[in-house]
């Protein structure tokens, strides 16, 4: 058989494998369930590749170590889950303000507070609206399979370097803990801009400063408009999504991440009964693929957003679809026993058909 080599791995391991393949030089992290497989894998493998692994004293320290390493122009990353991601928001805001690349992985668990270790999608707003202070956005990629945990982690590094802003891989404990067989592709050849802004410590006439403080008249405003333009460029060039059975759909279900996987099976069940239903799965949550939603909603007027929360992404869906479209919502707040089943979502589809 000439099938490509496959590996049967956890989603979290796929993230770590992709980071190494992407050439991550520094990982800084702190243990928290359900993402600890990522630091565990990298603690074992990264030093063997000549990379740096530090288990920091806190989430705050780890993200600031990423800031320092990223300022030097190397590929650096951290990972965590809800409570830890909240602590990292300070550093993420500074990285955004300093136009630094860097990858942050959020394997969402339920919250608020300590919450629980069950899957959740309730960090959507925090991730996509700029979770820290000051008004900024970061690239947010939402994998839907273990293969995508691998592929999108790799992409996160490239996009982050390309657009000089932090990128987040936003997954959940289902995707982090489940195992699937993947093809660990080699790092794609992508032409990226040279990091001429990085600190080098070579002195001389030209000084490089990585900073987010802008005090001069109009400086801060200029920065914001520059970033605004960059976000628009991102939306135009990098929006990604997947459609399934959308061509003749009379009801469009939209969901991201693990939830989209469950929806997909529900759509198959409905199709088997002749119900014309499709699935629209955003892969980039920032930039949100607004144009694709707008396009699909020209023809299909009945929509259903499904999330593992009481409704966050649905806001973006409603802002993106045509004005005469009604977007219904079905959600299960995160927590033990609240993961919806395909049968349950099939019932929700049937009710609306």
């Amino acid at each position: 058989m000439s099938t490509p080599p496959r590996k049967f791995v956890k989603g979290n391991e796929a993230v770590a494998m992709a980071a190494i393949e992407a050439g991550v030089q520094c990982y800084f992290g702190y243990p928290i369930t359900p993402q600890s497989d990522i630091p565990e894998y990298l603690a074992r493998e990264l030093p063997r590749k000549g990379g740096i692994f530090i288990q920091a004293e806190s989430e705050i320290a780890s993200v600031n170590m990423v800031l320092g390493a990223a300022a030097c122009g190397v590929r650096a990353m951290t990972s965590s889950s809800g409570p830890g991601i909240s602590l990292k928001q300070e550093g993420i805001s500074y990285m955004a303000g300093s136009e630094l690349p860097g990858v942050i992985v959020d394997i969402m668990r339920s919250g608020p507070g300590l919450g629980g270790i069950d899957a959740s999608q309730a960090d959507y707003h925090q991730a996509t609206k700029g979770g820290g202070h000051g008004g900024y956005r970061i690239i947010v990629l939402a994998p839907g399979s273990v293969q995508e945990m691998y592929d999108l982690t790799m992409l996160a590094f490239d996009l982050s370097d390309q657009y000089r802003m932090p990128a987040m891989v936003l997954a959940d404990s289902v995707l982090g803990q489940m195992k699937e067989s993947i093809v660990p592709h080699p790092r794609p050849q992508v032409e990226l801009p040279a990091k001429e802004w990085a600190v080098r410590g070579t002195g001389g006439a030209h000084q490089n400063v990585v900073k987010s403080l802008y005090l001069g008249d109009g400086e801060m405003e200029k920065f914001h408009w520059k970033m605004h333009a960059r976000y628009q460029e991102l939306a135009e060039k990098e929006s990604r999504w997947e459609e399934y059975q959308t061509a003749d759909a009379e009801l469009m279900v939209t969901a991201f991440g693990a939830t989209a996987r469950i929806v997909r099976t529900a759509v198959e069940m409905a199709r088997a009964e002749g119900i014309k239903v499709g699935l629209m799965r955003p892969i980039t949550l920032f930039p949100f693929p607004k144009q694709a939603y707008a396009g699909l909603s020209v023809r299909c007027k009945r929509w259903l957003a499904v999330e593992l929360s009481t409704g966050q992404m649905v806001d973006d869906v409603r802002l993106s679809v045509a004005r005469d479209v009604e977007v219904d919502f079905y959600g299960r707040p995160p927590g033990a026993g609240s993961l919806p089943t395909p049968e349950e979502l099939f019932e929700q589809i049937k009710k609306r058909s």
């Binding site: 520094c26 800031l67 400063v209």
Partner: protein, 247 residues
């Protein structure tokens, strides 16, 4: 005419924004002289903190990373690990290092990060307008201790150099002042030693520098300078608290 006094090459030819009588300017100069002396300006990366010292990049001819409040030792860890061949230092005030950044400095020190930390202790938050710092003296009035620091309520001032000297990862910990020519000469030697420890790849080197803040102390430059000697040094004794090798 013979030139007998010159600006260190590591410093830019600009006026500082510091208040009259502030010691930051002198401390900047001593750090720059140490860099000149070792010829390391061309291999140094600075980590600025939040406070009056944030403008490090405005005065030093080196590449600088600005850090979030208190996080400079974590940022410097990232820098040094990514670029182990560079000389990396942080320059932090007392609010930054001894309050919000306590965790970062203690853990960077405990890991023995091969960085140099210049810690400027002026017993107050300078940039935000003179609030109580973890190093504010007992009884000292600040805008948030209007009746004087009450040690029953706020605890006693942190002695960071002594505290850090207890950690195995710290190769060098000292406290100096720049309030007199004698103390300046001693400070110059100590700061030079601190960088030498890093050049030689020992552990973390830490220099606490007692500094005047006339504006927030409500004193003129001379009175503020006097206070360093009369009030601060008796509580924060000068000296080398850790010296793993005799330099």
């Amino acid at each position: 005419m013979k030139q007998i006094f010159a600006k260190p090459l590591s410093l830019k030819d600009v006026q500082t924004h510091f208040c009259p009588g502030c010691h930051h300017g002198s401390i900047h100069r001593l750090v720059a002289e140490a860099m000149d002396q070792f010829g390391i300006a061309e291999q140094t990366i600075g980590c600025a903190s939040v406070g009056c010292s944030v403008f490090l990049y405005g005065y030093f001819n080196i590449d600088v990373v600005e850090s979030p409040h208190g996080r400079a030792p974590a940022v410097a860890t990232g820098v040094k690990r990514a670029r182990p061949d560079r000389i990396v230092f942080t320059y932090q005030g007392d609010g930054d290092l001894a309050a919000i950044g306590t965790s970062e400095i203690i853990h960077a020190a405990n890991r023995g990060e091969k960085i140099t930390v210049i810690f400027v202790n002026n017993t107050t938050y300078g940039m935000t307008g003179g609030q109580m710092a973890p190093t504010t003296m007992p009884g000292q009035k600040t805008s948030t201790s209007p009746y004087g620091r009450d040690v029953n309520n706020d605890g006693k001032p942190f002695k960071m150099a002594e505290l850090l000297s207890n950690l195995d990862g710290v190769a060098y910990a000292a406290r100096v002042a720049v309030n007199s020519p004698k103390n300046v000469l001693q400070a110059k030697k100590v700061i030079k030693n601190a960088f030498q420890y890093q050049v030689e790849g020992k552990g973390l080197s830490f220099v606490e520098v007692l500094s005047a803040c006339p504006t927030n102390w409500g004193m003129n430059a001379l009175k503020a300078n006097e206070r360093v000697g009369s009030e601060m040094i008796p509580y924060f004794p000068l000296g080398v608290f850790k010296n793993t090798e005799n330099l």
